[in-house]
């Protein structure tokens, strides 16, 4: 046990460096996912039939294929088509677009469960479609989407763990270097698991607090299928 602690102390600085990269990628991916996912959801619900078809295709492609395959297509495959990204950019982009497809589905579910009647009432007092979406539909959808969005945040933190396979020096990347340097894979990955456990635990607590703060009577929660 003592041996384990010494090992822990030896490798933790390096792992924490990687953790910082992991968190950055997760944050960036969630942001991209939101920035792309929300408009995607709006098009999916309010867009013209053609746009809806395109957007549905986009969502199905990203939700129907493994993240790791997407990562390889983006990093190794897209250069074939003249699109070349650095490792880090590829990581942000793949995770971000992947998350956008899931976030779009969560937002779509939330928007649809706000209901058509709220739109009608907003239009009846003279709001434009845009204003109705902005001031009536979205504020409610955001509250409804909180539980699924929290789950998505946790999922993305965990799914960043594949980016080391394109040699991004995240927590897993560092872990791999450390474990082969010290020939101690089991202890290394157990420490890695503990770090993820702490991150996910903290994120859960924060999200629960935020969720409480934005609670509105009548808009308590909505559980949608998550990954």
């Amino acid at each position: 046990m003592n041996e384990f602690f010494i090992f822990f102390q030896t490798i933790i600085p390096e792992l924490l460096q990687g953790t910082r990269v992991t968190l950055k990628i997760a944050g960036g991916a969630l942001f991209i996912g939101f920035a792309v996912g929300l408009p995607t959801a709006l098009i999916r619900v309010y867009g013209s039939p053609w746009l809806q078809l395109i957007v549905t295709g986009y969502i199905n492609i990203f939700r129907g294929t493994p993240l790791l395959v997407q990562l390889f297509v983006v990093y190794y495959g897209l250069p074939d088509l003249g699109l070349t990204f650095s490792r880090l950019t590829a990581a942000y982009l793949t995770l971000g677009l992947n998350s956008s497809a899931y976030q779009a589905e969560y937002f779509r579910g939330a928007i649809q469960s706000v209901g058509e009647k709220q739109m009608v009432a907003a239009r009846a007092i003279g709001m434009s479609r845009f204003k109705a979406i902005r001031y009536i539909i979205l504020p409610q959808a955001f509250r409804l989407v909180m539980p699924s969005w929290s789950n998505e945040m946790i999922s993305i933190i965990k799914y960043t763990a594949v980016v080391f396979l394109i040699a991004v020096p995240d927590l897993m990347g560092k872990a791999k270097m450390v474990s082969s340097r010290y020939f101690a894979p089991i202890s290394t990955y157990i420490i890695v698991a503990l770090i993820y456990l702490v991150i996910v635990g903290l994120a859960t607590l924060i999200l629960r607090y935020v969720g409480k703060r934005f609670e509105t009577p009548g808009l308590e929660s909505m559980e949608t299928a998550t990954r």
Partner: protein, 272 residues
């Protein structure tokens, strides 16, 4: 440490679409095209004489090679998925029952398993179990991978079944006990059969998730679809075609799986 683990260190050669067309003139490729922009531009300029037909025939020849490599991987991907799902089903059911009916000692054990495993990336679990298993017994990466994936899926499935059991109306247990069933019999023949049906939608979702997560056994060198896509991309030097085809396979599988499970769901729906 298993040398296969480092398979991912050796990235396949990357090339552009035009590079790969002129297979007759092998040229030293120096890393990723982003790093030698000049040679990329040069290459594309010299290949403009390649006609459309030629390009198409080269493309279909490469596609054939890709398929030759990928198709044996389908069986592996599907078996890893099915084994993992089965293991997860057993663990998940047991853990869900323990979580709800396990009392003061077993219930927390089930809770800790579910919370810890779901907080850790599946890839990490695969690594840990792969190394732990290889210390204990001599198993192929295929089996270790499937077991690890099943161990991870068990935690997610336990949550699915827990939710389903809790949404069986409490009157069902009371009614079962009232006609003289033991607690165990009531759980087995009244509660679980209903819970299983209620769980089908969420379980379908888990099915496609495990199917997609089965790519993660790539990291311990299992020759599933993705690993084979990597091999063939190193050979044909057309990673987009290789990984894109793999992606297409997955889309077909996930669509098929959700169709199949959708039928199942409609068939076994309980009207409540």
């Amino acid at each position: 440490m298993d040398p296969r683990l480092h398979g991912d260190d050796k990235k396949p050669e990357i090339s552009t679409f035009y590079d790969s067309i002129k297979t007759e003139t092998p040229q030293e490729k120096s890393g990723r095209p982003g790093q030698d922009e000049a040679s990329f531009v040069g290459a594309s300029a010299t290949t403009f004489h390649v006609t459309h037909q030629e390009a198409m025939s080269v493309l279909s020849r490469s596609l054939l090679t890709v398929l030759q490599y990928l198709i044996p991987g389908i069986g592996i991907t599907v078996s890893v998925t099915l084994i993992a799902l089965t293991i997860g089903l057993v663990i998940g059911t047991v853990m869900a029952v323990l979580r709800i009916y396990g009392g003061r000692f077993l219930s927390p054990v089930a809770a800790v398993y579910s919370i810890v495993v779901r907080a850790v990336p599946v890839v990490v679990i695969i690594f840990i179990l792969f190394f732990v298993i290889s210390e204990l017994v001599d198993l192929s990466p295929f089996l270790s991978g499937a077991i690890a994936l099943g161990f991870a899926s068990g935690a997610y499935q336990s949550e699915i079944f827990r939710g389903a059991i809790l949404s069986v109306p409490p009157g069902q247990m009371i009614a079962a006990r009232a006609i003289g069933m033991s607690r165990f019999t009531a759980i087995r023949s009244i509660i679980l059969p209903q819970a299983v049906r209620l769980a089908i939608p969420a379980w379908s979702n888990e099915f496609t998730l495990v199917l997609k997560d089965s790519t993660l056994v790539y990291v311990i060198g299992v020759p599933e679809l993705l690993r084979r896509a990597q091999w063939v991309s190193a050979r044909t030097l057309e990673p987009f075609l290789a990984f894109g085809t793999a992606a297409a396979f997955y889309i077909v599988f996930t669509l098929l799986a959700s169709r199949l499970l959708g039928t199942l769901e409609r068939r076994y729906k309980i009207i409540m």
